[in-house]
Homo-oligomer: 453 residues x 2
């Protein structure tokens, strides 16, 4: 294996933390990232026609920067540019900075338009992705030699497929590479027989899986062997009611992780205290928080809300600089008893999923939290029917909501709760339980766009 | 990585062969296998209660053997015993010979009864599986740094999933881990964009994929980038008409490989001459050929037909000794210009798929070959309707066959050809094209058992 500049281990540190880099103070981390960023800028200028052009367009030489703040003088990279780069310069785009014959693996993401986006990895890139993911797993209590069942989708080139298997091997866990595509019946059968201690998957799928187990007559999911769960790839794991439901269903701890297909599987993850996600990308990804309106930097301090923007450090193939995530996060803490020095965040939603209803900001995660708290009147499954252009509406928000019991009473109760808790007006269209089921293994849909945009 | 006793490389030999062990003479190979077998027997006696008991039952000490012929004094291991071992001693059975905490990966196979069977791997086991698979890929012309698309199923714990990815990485190819579950549209889209030189998958799926491409209006599969194809996991790649069809569809070379979930992905594979599959398991698997009736050993020489029986060498977790494959093979050659010293085989079918129709042996592959030769009257898709107990019938064989054109004329033409070419009487039930389509990514079904057995 290639070395990644001393930022990857294959052994945990003592105690609760995988890497010493999760514990360094901000001065030391800033120094590390400034050095790594300057190396990366000069690498991009040398190797990537895409970034060379972007640097020229803003009349900015690649570096060296004297402080991390100077990074704000560089342009953002947008998903649309990456799509164009891939389309105009196949197979890996003009932004790809490594020779094709050093690329050992490619993953595919669907992108919002349905046109696949491609990410490439050198051996070194794969190792850095595994190292970040190992820090996530370790924070959540997964330990070397634990048996873990893979319950994300394994196919389609999804980064949650093979790269998760590689991270499991990297950190010395034992793997059952089963995948969400296997279907609930087979997965439950395998859990019964093989007794994995841990599982990872999408929260909606693991909820479906647990409920399938409980309703199929062979015993409760909470009596199975699963002790620890890591969820990711969609909102849910950070929603208190969803987490509580999953923890009860499985009799297991649930921890959330978060990453971005374009960069790495997971580089934010919760520790055993479970109060928001710590950054785990030290040495490999430099995060910035920006105001989603002005795109100006915001400090990552408690209470801050903004969009995360990422710059890859040491990334050889398909690197990204100041890549807009469109993920809106809130910093929910800065001190944690676990000793990790990074602040903790929660993902509120997509900046392009945020709605302004009569002047009030609403995130899908907040809607989900309210609905979950009304269980069993609401099942927790819902859709925002986007019947307006843009993200702002003066009308009540149209929601399709799965309910149980009397339709009209349920709808009224939900509307009242949304008004009381989020101060928004909603028109609830009640639907029978099961009406909004997503196909197993797929991301839960939240928005149904009927605006004709 | 652990060393596997000098039998694994991570570099090809010069020229057309991955490992020097593919070139050694029979004396040297027998000596190697006798030594490895004696080590394995003593390992099994020490580590596996299952094998200790089996050795005691035949009153045979574990070893050492003085010649490979003495192996025939040991009992066979049958799939049913392995199923019982797994059920009575979960999670990995009494036959498992490695401590659980050294098991780094487990795979799942469905077994013929639908009850999953579990295979475990230590790091060393994984490396030996990759080494054997690398020899297969290399024989077929796959080379380090070639971009290869994974088109077997990736999920369900199938050995064609993750272990194939690991073999690709092991031999230094570049991987697109896409999987048959992705569906034809997405796979074709990815091939167009990423231009892989090679692909592996089930022959029926790759046929479906190529036909989907040709019928979807965006150009011919033969104009895409695929130059080399490896097929396996079902009969088809060794059937001349199927291979010819695939080679024309894709404008690519097609080579067959064959393995067994219980042991390793692939350990028989074709070289560039494509005249049957060479053994590639030297040092890791000892094969025997036995008469399917008497179960007595048969020499692996030209013209021999029998069932393959396998003993794992150096296998740590879930090892198998004299494991009955129920695969019936024919030795089709002993000399090959490629220099490999092992004979070449073709798989004729399952010994339990072989039918005796009025005293004549019939294998599904032979039926498929005849039907393919009648294209386009027959599409190549068919089912044997097993309306009798056991494997022998005095009635004409009932076949459902997809045909085009006039039903009655097609049925008569097929019946006549089967009589002329295989000397069997068949009753052909003609069906419309598409009536026997298997779900993409699944193994083609050949037998429809209506006997009530």
């Amino acid at each position: 294996m290639s070395d990644v500049g001393g930022y990857a281990n294959r052994e945990p540190m003592d105690g609760d933390v995988w890497s010493k880099w999760e514990l360094v103070g901000s001065t030391e981390l800033d120094r590390l990232h400034l050095n790594r960023l300057n190396e990366q800028l000069s690498y991009l200028a040398r190797q990537s026609p895409f970034y060379r052009r972007k640097f020229e367009e803003v009349g900015r030489r690649a570096g060296p920067l004297k402080s991390l703040e100077e990074l704000a003088e560089f342009p953002f990279t947008d998903k649309a540019e990456i799509r164009d780069s891939l389309a105009s310069s196949p197979p890996l785009g003009e932004h790809c900075a490594a020779p094709l014959d050093t690329v050992v693996q490619r993953q595919v993401s669907s992108g919002t338009t349905g046109v696949p986006s491609y990410m490439a990895y050198t051996e070194r890139d794969l190792e850095s992705v595994s190292e970040m993911q190992a820090r996530c797993f370790y924070a959540a209590g997964f330990r070397p030699r634990n048996l873990v069942l893979h319950a994300f989708a394994m196919s389609k080139g999804f980064v949650g497929g093979l790269p998760m298997c590689q991270a499991v091997a990297y950190m010395g866990m034992s793997l059952l590479p089963v995948g969400a595509e296997s279907g609930a019946e087979r997965i439950i059968q395998i859990i019964r027989a093989q007794r994995p201690a841990a599982v990872f998957g999408a929260p909606s799928f693991l909820e479906y899986l647990g409920e399938f187990c409980n309703s199929s007559g062979g015993g409760q999911a909470s009596d199975l062997s699963i002790e620890r769960i890591v969820v990711g790839s969609e909102i849910g794991g950070g929603v208190p009611a969803t987490r509580a439901k999953l923890e009860t269903l499985w009799g297991a701890s649930v921890r959330e992780m978060y990453g971005l297909s374009d960069l790495a599987n997971g580089f934010w993850a919760e520790c055993r205290f479970g109060q928001g996600m710590h950054f785990t990308g030290q040495g490999f990804i430099h995060p910035e928080l920006v105001d989603p309106g002005t795109l100006q930097p915001i400090p990552l301090t408690s209470g801050a809300i903004g969009e995360l923007v990422y710059s890859a450090l040491g990334r050889e193939a398909t690197p990204l600089l100041r890549f807009r995530s469109y993920d809106l996060i809130e910093v929910v803490g800065e001190d944690c008893p676990c000793g990790r020095t990074s602040p903790q965040i929660r993902v509120l939603g997509r900046t392009d999923d945020m709605f302004i209803v009569r002047g009030i900001n609403v995130y899908p995660s907040a809607l989900k939290d309210v609905l979950n708290s009304l269980s069993p009147v609401a099942t927790g499954k819902f859709r925002i029917v986007k019947n307006f252009k843009g993200h702002s509406t003066a009308q009540p928000l149209h929601l399709k909501v799965e309910v149980t019991g009397d339709f009209q009473a349920a709808a009224r109760q939900i509307e009242t709760a949304l008004k009381a808790r989020l101060n928004i007006r909603a028109k609830v269209e009640p639907l029978e339980k099961g009406a909004l089921q997503d196909p197993p293994g797929t991301k839960a849909r939240i928005v149904e766009d009927v605006s004709g945009e």
